[in-house]
Every structure is written in structure tokens, then in C-alpha cells.
Symmetry: C2
């Protein structure tokens, strides 16, 4: 299981993903799940992936190969004229790879299924964020709650729903994401450290900044401990339920 979140802030994009992949509890590995492509000053593309590792690797490799073909640059994510077209290329690639892997008719429930979050910006356009489904279609974020989660999304969702604000600074967004990931990792062993963070500055068209949270990261450990304490303290401070008077 994976857990990836992408936030669309006024200041830009923040992606966070875990790196644990597993084919059973005794077969675990560390793989990056967020990938970046770019042409400085022209476009920057970020892609977070969750699902079957063979599928997501095939998609990423296919996308990378296409960028090296000179014949049909418009068919590659580095040549497409808009982020919408980039989303179409990726979603079609994903759906084709799943269909080719699945013996019978493709369904979203296929063992080879995968889901992706695409973010980025092309010169002259706005920063955009899409959720790409294994069926080969996609949606864009809403302005009300401009974030997407994929993979093991439920444990870490309540804090995002409550505390996310598109006006956030990058450091506050990273703190929020760490809390969301901590809640998830406390509940599901198949989501695990290290975490990959990518931060893209809106309008910069320069590479996303890359940060990694390792297992012994002091800040993460502090957040994990302090958040548990803060939750307990918050609960105590809420007015008591009047059990006896009823």
C-alpha cells in the first residue's frame, strides 16, 4: 500500500509520498513514488503514483521514453502544449498498460491497477493538479479543497479536511502532511518511511525542491510524539459530556 498527497497552494504545489512497496509483509522494498520531469523556464511536471509497482514503473518509463522521441514531440509530456494534454497522455498510457497487463477485460479492480496525481505548470498556463484514474480518465482539483490523496487515504484524511488552507506557507503544509502521514503509518504498517517531499514554487518553472524524511528524522519524530500529546490534550480540554445528569 502507498500513501501520497498533493496540495495545491497559492504558493505552489507540495507532494508527499511514502516509499514502501510490498508484495506481502516479508517482501518489502523502498522505491520512490513521486517523479519529476521538466524543462527549466518552460514547464515542470510532478507525478505521484499508487498501486501496482510494475504498472507505475511501466508508465513512468514509457513517459520518459516518449520525451526522447523527436518525431512527435506533442505526444510527449515535455512537448504537449497544456497541462490538460499532459494529463491525457499520462491517463491514456496508464490505461493501456493496465489493459495489456490484465488477461481479461480491464476493470478498475484489476490487480495491475494504479492511480496517479499529476501536478505542474507550463509557461503561459496556471499551475494545475489532476487525479488520474486507472480507467484512463481524470479530474482536476476543486477550488474548495484543492488537494488529492491516493492509496491508503482514510486515516490521514480528517486532519487534512480540517486544517488544510490553500493560503498556507510551504513549511506549514509540510507540517500538516507529516501529521497526516503519521496518522496513516500508525494504523497501516504497509505505509512507511522514508517520505519524499517535492515543493514546486508557482510561476517559477524551475525544478521542484526535493526533500527526504528519513527514519531517524528528528523533526518527524518530534511531530509524531507531539501530535499524539496534542490530540490527548485537546480532547481533555473539550467540555465534558454530562453523563450523570441525564
Amino acid at each position: 500500500m502507498s500513501y501520497c498527497v498533493a496540495l495545491k497552494l497559492k504558493r505552489g504545489l507540495v507532494f508527499m509520498s511514502d516509499t514502501l512497496t510490498n508484495g506481502g509483509l516479508d517482501n518489502i522494498s523502498c522505491y520512490p513514488k513521486t517523479f519529476c520531469w521538466g524543462l527549466a523556464g518552460e514547464r515542470q511536471i510532478l507525478l505521484a503514483t499508487a498501486g501496482n509497482l510494475a504498472t507505475t514503473q511501466a508508465v513512468v518509463s514509457t513517459l520518459s521514453e516518449q520525451t526522447k522521441k523527436l518525431k512527435e514531440p506533442r505526444d510527449s509530456i515535455l512537448g504537449a502544449p497544456t497541462m490538460f494534454q499532459v494529463a491525457r497522455i499520462i491517463s491514456q498510457t496508464l490505461a493501456e498498460i493496465i489493459v495489456n497487463s490484465t488477461p481479461s477485460q480491464q476493470t478498475a479492480k484489476s490487480a495491475f491497477s494504479a492511480t496517479m496525481i499529476l501536478g505542474g505548470q507550463i509557461k503561459g498556463g496556471e499551475t494545475q493538479l489532476y487525479l488520474i484514474y486507472p480507467e484512463g480518465n481524470f479530474i482536476e482539483v476543486s477550488d474548495d479543497k484543492p488537494f488529492f490523496q491516493i492509496g491508503e487515504t482514510k486515516y490521514g484524511r480528517p486532519i487534512l479536511v480540517r486544517a488544510f488552507d490553500p493560503e498556507m506557507e510551504f513549511n506549514d503544509a509540510i507540517k500538516l502532511l507529516m501529521v497526516s502521514f503519521d496518522s496513516t503509518m500508525k494504523a497501516n504498517l504497509s505505509v512507511g518511511l522514508p517520505l519524499d517531499i517535492r515543493v514546486y514554487n508557482d510561476g517559477s518553472l524551475t525544478s521542484a525542491r526535493e526533500l527526504r524524511v528519513e527514519k531517524d528524522d528528528a523533526y518527524y519524530q518530534m511531530i509524531s510524539r507531539a501530535w499524539g500529546d496534542a490530540l490527548k490534550a485537546s480532547l481533555v480540554q473539550l467540555p465534558d459530556y454530562d453523563y450523570n445528569q441525564d
Copy 2:
């Protein structure tokens, strides 16, 4: 979808369940999901249910009917000598009803599946809490984390994992459960008010106290609002991530 939680405290048992059942978003109803049977001074039994409504109703009706047969009292939940035997009766009833409803071989993924939490006490025995699976087997709570959740469990789990303590008073437990339900209802529309609460005093062998949280319950509304504010405030108070210095 349902959401039910049962806590085993030192003081006794607290059950909370929502009451929304749905066969699609345009076909919703309000049904109780927690049921009680008892003989004052001899035994008290609580059963929370999640899953197919026809299955859970058939189980509850079958269990109730069995209590009225005088021939084999040991085969009824009001005649079985121990809570372990009560768990066996319920789990076998559940598995049989699912098998009879499912055309082909029964699997846990059957559309007729259901999961249950059984709690209670029989004179001379301790208060016990079991999780009953649709396959017809069951487990007892661990001493470390003596609570069970069924149905839509993930959104409301992080706060339970962090803040639950078996030494809690009943009013603190109800407050904790309200927060857990609020997180769940904010994320999944198919879990909804009103909420049913049952509180059993360890050793009392008297009926569990019944409380209902209606849609306009002032305490619940206050908790929902105050918890959101508390989460945001807690997040702000955590030390900032040092984004710029890296």
C-alpha cells in the same frame, strides 16, 4: 455503510453506533444497529452490527426467537453458560445466514456479509468483548487496546489509537467516541446521525443505559465545532518545519 465502536473500560462497556442504512444515496433509512438482551442480575448482552441489513436483522431475529424456545435453553444467548458460548452461538448463526443467502460458495466478500461486536457479562464471569467475523469465527479484545471498530473504521481510528485509555470514565469515553464519529461522518456521508450509545456498568448485570444523540444535539454540535478548532490550534502550536534553512 455503518460505523460502530465498542470500548472495554475498567468501569464497563461503551457501545456507539450510527443509525443510517442505505441502499444507494437515494434510499436511506434509520435503523438501530446495536441490540441488547438481558436477564437482570444474571446476564447482559450487547451486540453491534455492520453490513448487510437483511443479514443483521435475520441474525438478531433468530437470536431473539431462540431465547423463547424452552427445549434447548443452552443453545440460546440467554441460556448459554459463558460469554464464549454466546459468541459461538452468534457467530454460527451469522455464518449460516450468510451461507443461506449466498447463491454460490460463501466468502467474506459476499454482498450478504456482516460483522458484529459482542459484549456482555454473565454472573460469575468477567465482562467480555468479541469481534465476530462473517466466516463464523471470532476473536476477543487484547488487553493493550481493548476496543473494536466495525464498518467504516479508518477515519475515526487515529484518535482512538492515540487517546483511548481503559481507565477512562464513561463521560470521557463518550466524548472520545463522539470525536471519532464526527471525523467519520465528515468524510463518509453514508455514516450518519442519530447515534446510539449503550453503557454497561461492569458487574452490575443490569440493563445497559441507552442514550441517543439526535441531529440537533447541542453537545455533539459543540464537539464537532470545537474539535475542528482544537485540531487547527494544535497544528499551529507544533514547532514549524524549517523549510528555508535546508
